[in-house]
Symmetry: C2
Subunit: 323 residues, 2 copies
């Protein structure tokens, strides 16, 4: 059994690789851009980038890369065999078998793949904000919304390993179109991407006049501009962040009804704006959760490891499947 | 260990009590009306009705009622200790501890309570349409929508035992008001009650002209009239049933995304109209499930035990907790 494992979180813009000890300590980190310009060879190009990261981390620690267990977290439907079956938010790698490609390039038989938000849930459950909690949902707010469901202390993986696709829960029938092909998915309202979409709509309808004046046009308004303006206390931005908090609470309420989870751990890029959004979300839960008063308190906290949760959990997956 | 158990399913209109063998054979049945006119003593009145049912079933089989394990299925938030914490569709019994009341009236220490749809899920998993299936959801379409989630072969109960409240998943933000206090809950669109609501709206807007002419007024149109007319092939009724099938598929798709369950078992009163609704629901799943083509086939069948699933599962709960 290895003392360390490498975990990599492959996102739409970057791949974060960590070398992690069995007790969760991060011993080293390498970041790289996720390649998108390789056309139908994007899977191979991505595997090449990850291979370099793994070799660099292993050699820095005096290890043979083929002997270190490696876990890879990917967004979308990850089959139990490591094949990425459907990835609306990482379309370039859709259909690739990154685990097999890495196995070849590293001459390793100990490469394991898992959904990125499932990885984050496992890391938070083992070492972080979900430690000791038997029923919680990890919610990653990035371009989309990913999820990892812990029920009775175990990760819910489902029939094919696809469980936790909470961002594609429809909360507004016939609503905003989604990259998955559906309409009204939660992630069109409550993710970083959802905030961007709501911000552009608000800008176009004149609800963000100060921001539009500052940035020059309604089209220029991005999610980051709204969170930055909210942090300054700009009222029109706070109104929009409150709206996103309501949508966030709506989806959390659905999950609470279905799963009776008493706790949510919020991660992903938008969680850096959590001071602005989470207080509103907590406030709205009271009205939105069925039978709120009949339940013990439902808590919502930010992830303990922030942008590192996914990669740390990928390392945990590597430890567990290699044992 | 007892060879038989009594299971009772307490619904909004009637209480169905069964005496069941360990292999699932139903040995006897007693039905009674659920009392609603006892004001703030409705809990006691309900317990009295159930006590009579239990005594009748036990004595017919030559048994002492205090020695037969009893399971009771109730709609709403059932705490693990047997207390009914919140029941939007059975408000008269809200807050009662039926398990304790029955324990006193029967001088029995082997009375167990569970959510009614969880009971149905357990019965279908042990003996019926979910047998051998590790990931499925039981969906009971009655006045509301109840649910029981089986993940990796186990019932998901959640922190307080409240899991499976799938009918209160919001699918239409700011939508139709619900008895739970929320808006846009799935059960306002896809249950028997939802069909009734959609039917009245359709009748009032002139979309059910033949039915309104037949029944005398738009207000007179009930869910049963629509399903009966649909069975006759009346086009305007079929259009409405197709709409309900779409709403049913929408909620099932959400559950498939969150849980990756490959199978749904449909029970409850509306399931008697399943020949009319389920084909539409299956058809719409193809468009509504995220990444449908990337997944193995998702199946939707009716419950094997129909209106008896809940009571049979309550008996199963009694067997298991008494062992």
């Amino acid at each position: 059994m290895s003392d360390v494992a490498i975990g990599i979180d492959v996102g739409g813009t970057k791949a974060l690789a960590l070398i992690v000890a069995r007790d969760g300590r991060v011993l080293g980190e390498v970041k790289a851009k996720t390649p998108h310009d390789a056309g139908n060879r994007a899977g191979e190009a991505t595997a090449a980038v990850l291979t370099e990261q793994i070799i660099e981390l292993a050699s820095t620690h005096g290890l043979d890369p083929s002997e270190v267990p490696v876990g890879v977290g990917l967004p979308g439907l990850m089959r139990r065999d490591g094949h990425l079956a459907f990835a609306p938010n990482l379309q370039s790698v859709n259909g690739s078998d990154l685990g097999a490609l890495l196995g070849v390039s590293l001459a390793s038989s100990i490469v394991f793949c898992e959904n990125d938000a499932n990885c984050a849930a496992l890391a938070e459950h083992e070492w972080g904000a979900g430690r000791g909690i038997e029923d919680f949902v990890m919610v990653t707010l990035g371009t989309g919304i990913g999820g990892g469901v812990i029920a009775d202390g175990q990760l819910v993986r489902g029939r094919s390993g696809f469980a936790g696709e909470i961002g594609h829960m429809v909360v507004q029938a016939h609503g905003a179109p989604c990259l998955c092909g559906g309409h009204g998915c939660w992630e069109r309202y409550a993710s970083g991407g959802g905030l961007g979409r709501l911000a552009r709509e608000a800008a176009q309808s004149g609800r963000l006049a100060t921001l539009v004046a500052r940035l020059g046009s309604a089209e220029a308004v991005r999610a980051e501009d709204v969170t930055a303006a909210g942090a300054e206390g700009l009222e029109e931005a706070l109104v929009l962040l409150k709206e996103v908090g309501w949508w966030l609470a709506l989806g959390l309420s659905n999950l609470a009804a279905i799963l009776d989870c008493g706790h949510f751990v919020i991660g992903g890029g938008l969680s850096s704006a959590s001071d602005l959004v989470l207080p509103y979300a907590r406030e709205h839960l009271v009205d939105l959760v069925e039978g709120y008063d009949a339940r013990p308190t439902i808590t919502v906290t930010t992830s303990m490891f922030g942008p590192r949760s996914g990669a740390m959990g990928a390392a945990l997956v590597a430890f567990e499947r290699n044992s």
